[in-house]
């Protein structure tokens, strides 16, 4: 049994019951981070901040939003944007955060790939991160439907339709997802539920898992060096701070993160006030009209690369229709990054510029995904269709063929050298 004595202060009273001192140590002042990192390691804290902004602004929007196809558009564009005190600010903050959060996620992911932070004990960090990517994608997709504008409706129509391509159960699945034969009121209400309740809960759970999974392997560093955290922490605690290879999360790591965060927030609020159209598509300020197909239907920018993989295969091959091949490629594109730790067959953890062919592979992948993103928005006609096709093939080839081959070679070389 714990000993409870008369406490001399509120802090002491709480400390006896909640072990505050110990908790602060474990989570903050003695949570060790390598010293040799750069600002890319601050993206996690930036993401956490963006998630908080989304959550808080979302709660404010929720107070006036109406999940009904007859009311949704006006509740957003009139009530919230014009009547509610600072409603326009909450909406702009929410909309822009939802878009830039993906920019930061992509930077965060490519950082992980560049420095090999997905292997040697860090597989669970990577997997939980990918789960966050998938749930964030679902969150963004469901949220985009809520204002019930033209793009809300037509993107929902096109994307839910994709599930019809799944063999045997496809048609029933589409109806089950929509709650109706076509995208309608039932669809809006259920996506509303997903967006404001189920998915946020799941995301918060996975964020917890993501952070917890960092605890045992610790975060990686710029050189991929394996650090004896206990020994280095002792050095730091003994006052040999300059010599120690680690720093505590609080205050050393966070002081730099806050600076990076501050710079990022300047960028973010610049977008919120002056440059928001990329995140809040003008087309979506036309109310949903099932009778009027917009001339161009495209998803938000962060889905474009996988959308282009879907569209890239535009001709039938033997018994397979273009649609089926596209769907399969799309399915693969959406899960392939989960397999990163196993597609990379090399045990070497080092920054890409020290890994020869992998370095080239990294930049080709990045450029290819940017090409896919851009061509995912262009009308798929003429030369564009072919560019999309080759970029899609390249994407699949890079991950399924090139990566295992390159890293197997690397493993051989590393094995030979050891």
């Amino acid at each position: 049994m714990a000993q409870f004595e008369k406490a001399n202060s509120v802090y002491e009273w709480l400390d006896q019951r909640l072990a505050l001192t110990k908790l602060t140590k474990v989570l903050m002042t003695e949570y060790w981070i390598p010293k040799n990192i750069n600002f890319l390691w601050a993206m996690g804290v930036v993401l956490m901040t963006m998630f908080k902004i989304l959550l808080i602004s979302g709660i404010f929007l929720l107070m006036y939003y109406k999940p009904d196809t007859k009311l949704a558009f006006d509740s957003v564009n009139y009530t919230i944007m014009q009547e509610v005190w600072f409603g326009w600010l909450w909406r702009h903050m929410h909309g822009v955060a939802a878009s830039v959060v993906f920019l930061v996620i992509y930077i965060h992911m490519f950082t992980g790939i560049y420095y090999g932070s997905y292997k040697r004990g860090r597989e669970m960090i990577w997997l939980s991160g990918m789960l966050l990517f998938v749930t964030f994608s679902a969150e963004a997709f469901s949220g985009y439907m809520l204002p019930w504008g033209q793009m809300s409706y037509w993107a929902a129509q096109v994307i839910t339709n994709l599930f019809g391509g799944i063999p045997f159960i496809g048609d029933e699945l589409v109806i089950w997802i929509r709650g109706n034969f076509y995208v309608a009121d039932a669809t809006l209400t259920r996506f509303f539920m997903l967006h404001v309740l189920l998915l946020p809960l799941v995301i918060m759970g996975i964020i917890g898992l993501h952070f917890y999974s960092l605890r045992i392997p610790h975060v990686n560093n710029q050189e991929g060096e394996e650090i004896d955290f206990d020994a280095e922490a002792e050095k730091f605690k003994a006052g040999r701070k300059a010599e120690a290879k680690v720093i505590p999360f609080w205050p050393v790591f966070i002081s730099k993160d806050l600076f990076v965060l501050g710079v990022f927030m300047i960028f973010y609020f610049y977008l919120v006030f002056y440059h928001y159209n990329f995140a809040m598509d003008p087309i979506n300020f036309d109310p949903a009209n099932p009778m009027k197909t917009p001339p161009h239907i495209y998803p938000e920018w962060y889905f474009l690369w996988s959308y282009e993989v879907l569209r890239g295969f535009f001709f039938d091959v033997g018994p397979l229709s273009a649609m089926d091949i596209g769907l399969m490629a799309f399915g693969i594109a959406n899960v392939i990054f989960f397999l990163m730790p196993w597609l990379d067959r090399s045990p070497v953890v080092a920054p890409a510029h020290k890994r020869g062919p992998f370095f080239i592979w990294f930049w080709v992948l990045l450029v290819d995904m940017i090409v896919l993103t851009i061509w995912g928005k262009l009308p798929p006609t003429g030369i564009n269709a072919w560019i999309g096709f080759f970029a899609s093939i390249t994407f699949l080839g890079l991950l399924l063929v090139a990566l295992p081959m390159i890293t197997k070679q690397e493993a051989k070389r590393a094995g030979g050298a050891a």
Binding site: F39, G262, I266, F273, K377
Partner: protein
């Protein structure tokens, strides 16, 4: 230094992606068109100087007020909007501001041959005459009479048209603007009973039905169009709808450049009501985060002094 290099790379790729999905992709998706000049070059000017006094007489005899109201001259509308829409398909607009709203060349052309001026020749002909008749004159030289009417309309028009007036008279017979309580049959008054509400809605529905028969489609509510189309598009669209949306049911309306700007200002006041607030709050929030970042930097320097 290394961090700046990394930052440069991140920014470079972000900008390339941005350029590709925004300016570049949009330039590929939307056909390019020449910006509006408001010159109405397809119309030949009358080449006559109008006389407003004579114009007043001709106007009184030309039958215009059999369909149009001129509220500023205490000439009320002969019919209420719904009845007018039943007769003509659409409620003829009030002409108090016409002299200021419409380009004078265009106004003359509308009086002589409205369907042609509005670029509706393909829809109307002998079998289906345009609801507003061509003006064939009251006995004298036709072009001179038309010039006189135009001069008269200009003489009664206010120097400055209010943005809302411009919209109501130029677009309000076809388009609702419900976020500012404008409906094609007029503003919705404060309703005390459900019956009144239902009666208003019924009238609105009847008007819309007539309008649909007349135009082939219902013109959209324009409340949020400033956000969905933007200033430039609307400006170019007003000057010549066909140039931008081939085969659209919207006729040319023939506004002057100033009147067009008034209409767009009104659409901005309604659809982007918080623009001023946004633009005044922006710098303050940015300043806050600049100070935040500077303080954070100072703290970071202090904390990291011992660990380097």
């Amino acid at each position: 230094m290394r961090e700046l290099k990394i930052l440069g790379v991140v920014i470079l790729f972000t900008l390339i992606t941005y350029w590709g999905v925004e300016p570049f992709a949009h330039s590929q998706m939307h056909a390019h068109h020449e910006p509006a000049t408001f010159k109405y070059e397809d119309i030949t000017p009358l080449g006559k100087k109008g006389n407003p006094q004579r114009g007043a007489e001709i106007f009184a005899n030309a039958g215009c007020t059999g369909c149009h109201s001129v509220k500023s001259q205490n000439l009320p509308a002969p019919m209420d909007p719904v009845a007018a829409s039943a007769s003509y398909g659409v409620n003829p607009p009030d002409l108090s501001d016409a002299g200021a709203l419409y380009d004078p060349k265009y106004l003359a052309a509308v009086i002589k041959n409205p369907a042609h001026a509005m670029k509706l020749d393909h829809k109307f002909n002998e079998n289906r005459p345009f609801p507003m008749p061509n003006f064939y004159g009251v006995g004298g030289d036709l072009d001179q009479e038309v010039a006189d009417i135009v001069a008269y309309l200009q003489s009664i028009a206010p120097k400055e048209v209010e943005p809302k007036e411009a919209f109501v008279n130029a677009c309000g017979r076809c388009h609702d603007m419900k976020y500012d309580n404008w409906y094609v049959i007029g503003p919705k008054p404060k309703m005390d009973t459900e019956l009144e509400e239902a009666q208003f809605n019924l009238k609105h529905a009847e008007y819309q039905e007539n309008l649909k028969k007349y135009l082939g489609t219902n013109p959209p509510d324009l409340s949020m169009y400033i956000r969905s189309r933007g200033h430039e598009y609307i400006r170019d669209f007003i000057e010549d709808p066909q140039k931008i949306l081939h085969g659209t049911a919207m006729p040319r309306v023939g506004l002057t450049e100033e009147a067009t700007e008034k209409v767009v200002t009104y659409m901005e006041n309604v659809g982007d009501r918080k623009k001023e607030k946004r633009e005044s709050l922006g710098p303050l929030v940015l300043l806050y985060f600049i100070i935040f970042a500077l303080l954070a930097y100072a703290w970071k320097q202090k904390v990291w002094r011992d660990v380097h």
